[in-house]
């Protein structure tokens, strides 16, 4: 495997992506007045500088890692940034989101570099599985604490330190992925033993206990915090990982059944769940459906080629900078732009699963699978909600949406995937070298 080629590819792709983002930014700024915007300097610094920093970090710290993930993430992040800048400027009273987002991007890349520096070997994370599990639960409970907990837009998923609002749930997801991977690798043989329960093959409940507890706690916290999207994401993560670990499809069946029962219970018990569901089925003529209806109008206005950057009216869509940003992309870049975003995510999923397939240890394989699932499903859940394929649930579109916690967490996720990829490639190289030595010897 030509691993130096990977870095060259990465650099090439980064340059291409950056050119696209810079071009998009200039186009977005032009139609108003034909002057070069004054913020062009800092903007170029962010958009050109950050990918470069990340690239150099990968060269130094994970030189043999996959070369596709970083350029794709950086392209999505840049595209999202252009839209956030453009959307914020269109507001009558700009909320300064563009400036904040650039700070978050700097912090995100910093977190990326720090993760690569601190986690020198992904397998070592296996040791911290229970720590990670407890950390996940603690993070999830944090917003429920008095004083620091905050409810924003009906969801109590925020923690506030002075002026900084933060969603600990974004990091809890990563911790849970680490915990599940470590725990399932340890127990997977036991978990894979089926016991006949009537006509069904069921795993022994004894080994299932801790996982069910972790899952139950996560789910309860989510429901009490009214964060349906994350709840769905958690459950999917758990289900996928136990299925992949045990190679038992019965877990999928049992899990899906659990999901249906849980969903029905939530539908009966919580008015906000019922509301989401009703809105999904019939968004017209209801104030509640305003968001998805406006999103649909935005896509319709976009057509195949889009209205053009800065030529649409995406600010009509509520929370367009975060959850609904995919609709703004659909409006101004059209089917073509939306498809490009979809393809970028598919390529990232492909790269992530390839890393999982090639990883040497069971833990790394499971962790890579879990991280890719988090990324791929989170993107799917929110985009599907925006286009009314699924009920709308409030999660961010990874790398694209405005949102600091999400961006930070996703850069850490990216760093972990690259770390696993680098480990795998290094081990293969070592083995090849060892083989050559024995041949000589």
């Amino acid at each position: 495997m030509n691993t130096t080629g990977r870095r060259t590819t990465e650099l090439g792709l980064l340059v291409l992506g950056t050119m696209f983002v810079v071009g998009a930014y200039l186009l977005a700024s032009l139609p108003d007045d034909s002057k070069i915007p004054t913020t062009v300097g800092p903007f170029l610094g962010i958009i050109v500088g950050l990918p470069l920093v990340a690239h150099i970090a990968v060269r130094r710290l994970a030189p043999r890692a996959d070369g596709m993930l970083l350029p794709l993430a950086s392209l999505l992040n840049g595209l999202g940034y252009v839209f956030i800048v453009r959307l914020d400027e269109a507001r009558r009273e700009p909320r300064g989101l563009a400036g904040l987002q650039s700070v978050w991007m700097i912090l995100g890349v910093a977190a990326f570099v720090v993760t690569l520096m601190v986690v020198r070997n992904a397998r070592k994370l296996e040791r911290y599985r229970y720590t990670a599990g407890f950390a996940a639960i603690a993070l999830l409970l944090l917003p429920l604490m008095p004083v620091i907990g905050r409810t924003i837009n009906g969801s109590r998923i925020w923690v506030s330190f002075g002026p900084i609002n933060f969603q600990p749930g974004e990091f809890a997801k990563l911790m849970l992925a680490v915990f599940f991977a470590g725990y399932l690798v340890e127990k997977r043989e036991l978990l894979a033993i089926n016991r006949a329960v009537g006509p069904f093959a069921m795993p022994d409940p004894k080994h299932l206990g801790p996982v069910l507890i972790a899952w139950g706690v996560a789910l309860m916290v989510m429901v009490s915090q009214r964060d349906l999207g994350s709840s769905m994401l958690f459950f999917t993560l758990f289900l996928v990982m136990i299925w992949v670990a045990t190679e038992r499809a019965s877990y999928l069946a049992v899990g899906t059944a659990l999901f249906v029962v849980g969903g029905y219970f939530a539908f009966q018990a919580f008015s906000h769940v019922r509301e989401r569901f009703d809105t999904w089925l019939d968004p017209w003529d209801k104030a509640k459906g305003f968001q998805v209806v406006q999103a649909a109008f935005a896509f319709a206005d976009g057509g195949v080629a889009g209205r053009g950057l800065n030529l649409g009216v995406p600010t009509k869509i509520p929370v367009v900078e975060s959850d609904m940003i995919f609709a703004a992309i659909g409006e101004e870049l059209g089917l073509v732009g939306a498809t490009a975003v979809l393809i970028a995510f598919i390529l990232m999923i492909g790269a992530g699963l390839r890393i999982a397939q090639q990883a040497a240890s069971g833990f790394e394989r499971l962790l890579a699978t879990g991280l890719t699932t988090l990324l791929g499903f989170q993107a799917f859940i929110i985009m599907a909600g925006v286009v009314r394929l699924l009920p709308l649930t409030g999660v961010t579109l990874p790398f694209v949406s405005y949102g600091g916690s999400s961006l930070l967490a996703n850069y850490v996720l990216l760093a972990l995937l690259l770390r696993i990829s680098d480990d795998t490639a290094s081990r293969d190289m070592d083995r090849m070298a060892a083989n050559q030595l024995t041949e000589i010897g």
């Binding site: 190679e247 109008f297 319709a300 976009g302 009216v313 059209g334 089917l335 939306a338 979809l342 799917f380």
Partner: protein, 503 residues
């Protein structure tokens, strides 16, 4: 594990493919429907800060224009004629969206049609925003007469030229002042819209509401009789009686006031004889023929009027095919027969124009700012419900209704013109007796195709005799047609000429 990871990849790929397909649906397949959904005012929003062309009446009165404003939208849309043309121009508002001509010809007014774009190729380097000015066929003088004669009674007046389908007047009471909704004070606009909606003052009764047409529908039945039932001027002669009982059970169809009537086509139309027309529709024409003729006039069809939001008129096709009693009722415009005043004007237009209904429309021409013609309404035939011979016969019959029947007052002030018409009185309640008064009719110089057709509906009048239509509605129709037959005075010429160049 590798098999599971691969399957996971396949599953995610399926999910994303579903996403891709749904995005296709929104951006391409459903895009047109979504863009025309009520409540979608994105087009307005996009264009709101751009200049916009004027809307002018046929006699040169500015009905809508954009004047510079000092707020963030640069232009304020204003309607100098206030409520007079509200249902024609519609409004162009930020939060409420747009209606009427403002909506229908949005692309032309905003200067966004192909011909403009081609024109603009050499304008690329000139800093100018091209817009289109729309000239309508409606006339301010005719509209004003319609408004004044109807007064504060709820109702509708439609006047059109049967030869072209050009609408000359489209008035209904209550109306509203579009300026109230177009104001940039959005709080006020929303409040005004609420008040107007509660007063039901934003729906055009001329083409967005249905009423019972009463006896004016007998013109449709008569057409069916001649076309499908072998009815001529001489035969059959319907028995003189007070009521008609269709085969089957149900209440017989009685004549107004229990009077006896009957005879051939002309006399029964002159006195609007219920028993005779019920028999004609039920026995001579039949359910299929009545339904087909009604449909060819436009019932149960979308009328391609160039104003959005119109409703269909209805003929109870299913009911009449099941029960002759229903057919008898429908033949005299009862049962579930409902029509817009525009539809009834089209019925009169078919008779006036040799059997052919021209598609009704309000747009005549679009000019660019230099006065070059950019677009002209392409006149189309909507439908031909009857032959020229049938039309000639019915025309004579309707003329005799005015000469010696229920519609004599339709000829008031129209000396020297050939005038034909048919009254209608649609009973709404009997205690106290209230009814809708109708008239449909036409007028023109002798020996020519009539120049104007009119349909008038006055709602909820006291009394319920057949005379109500002739007493209440006919004078309005006469006054409107009289004005329409007077050559228009262009407002700018009257003021001594203006910059309207070319021609």
């Amino acid at each position: 594990m590798s098999k599971q990871i691969r399957n996971l990849g396949v599953f995610l790929l399926v999910c994303y493919t579903a996403l891709f397909l749904q995005v296709n649906r929104l951006t391409v397949f459903d895009a047109h429907d979504l863009q025309h959904k009520p409540g979608n005012n994105r087009a307005v929003e996009r264009d709101f800060a751009r200049p916009r062309g004027t809307i002018e009446s046929a006699d040169g009165v500015v009905l809508a224009e954009s004047v510079p404003s000092n707020d963030r939208f640069r232009f304020q849309r204003t309607y100098p004629t206030k409520d007079l043309f509200a249902y024609v121009t519609g409004y162009y508002a930020f939060q409420l969206g747009s209606t009427g001509v403002e909506r229908q010809y949005n692309d032309e007014l905003a200067g966004r049609t192909l011909s403009f774009n081609l024109d603009q190729l050499d304008d690329l380097f000139v800093d100018r925003e091209q817009v289109g000015n729309v000239t309508l066929s409606v006339r301010k003088d005719v509209q004003q007469v319609a408004k004044d004669t109807l007064g504060d009674r709820a109702g509708s007046v439609v006047a059109l030229d049967p030869r072209t389908g050009e609408i000359l007047a489209l008035w209904s009471t209550p109306s509203y002042d579009p300026n109230l909704l177009a104001t940039h004070d959005f709080t006020a606009a929303t409040a005004n819209a609420k008040v107007l909606n509660e007063a039901k003052a934003t729906r055009a009764r001329t083409f967005q509401e249905r009423r019972f047409p009463g006896s004016t529908f007998k013109v449709v039945t008569a057409t069916a009789g001649v076309e499908r039932g072998g009815v001529t001027a001489d035969q059959p002669s319907y028995p003189v009686r007070t009521s008609y009982q269709a085969p089957g059970r149900g209440r017989p169809i009685s004549n107004f006031g229990g009077e006896s009537c009957g005879g051939t086509l002309f006399p029964i139309l002159e006195v609007s004889c219920n028993s005779a027309f019920a028999q004609m529709g039920t026995e001579d024409v039949g359910a299929a023929g009545m339904s087909q003729i009604a449909e060819s006039f436009g019932f149960d069809r979308d009328i391609p009027l160039d104003l959005p939001g119109g409703v269909q008129s209805t003929f109870p096709v299913k009911a009449v095919s099941q029960d002759p009693v229903f057919l008898a009722q429908a033949s005299i415009g009862q049962n579930a027969v409902q029509a817009t005043p525009l539809q009834m004007a089209m019925v009169a237009a078919a008779v006036a124009n040799g059997g052919k209904i021209m598609t009704p429309h309000v747009m005549r021409e679009v000019h660019d700012e230099q006065g070059n013609l950019v677009k002209k309404y392409d006149q189309k035939t909507f439908s031909t419900p009857m032959s020229g011979d049938t039309a000639g016969l019915l025309r004579d019959a309707m003329v005799s209704v005015v000469r010696q029947g229920t519609a004599t007052r339709l000829a008031e002030g129209l000396d020297g013109f050939v005038v034909g018409g048919k009254t209608g009185t649609a009973q709404l309640g009997s205690n106290p007796p209230r009814s809708d008064a109708w008239i449909i009719g036409f007028a023109g110089p002798p020996g020519e195709v009539p120049h104007v057709v009119v349909a008038v509906n006055v709602e909820g009048q006291e009394g319920s005799s057949e005379a109500t239509g002739g007493r209440v509605a006919a004078p309005i129709g006469a006054a409107v047609m009289k004005q329409a037959l007077t050559p228009p005075q262009r407002a700018d010429q009257a003021e001594g000429g203006s910059a309207q160049g070319g021609g």
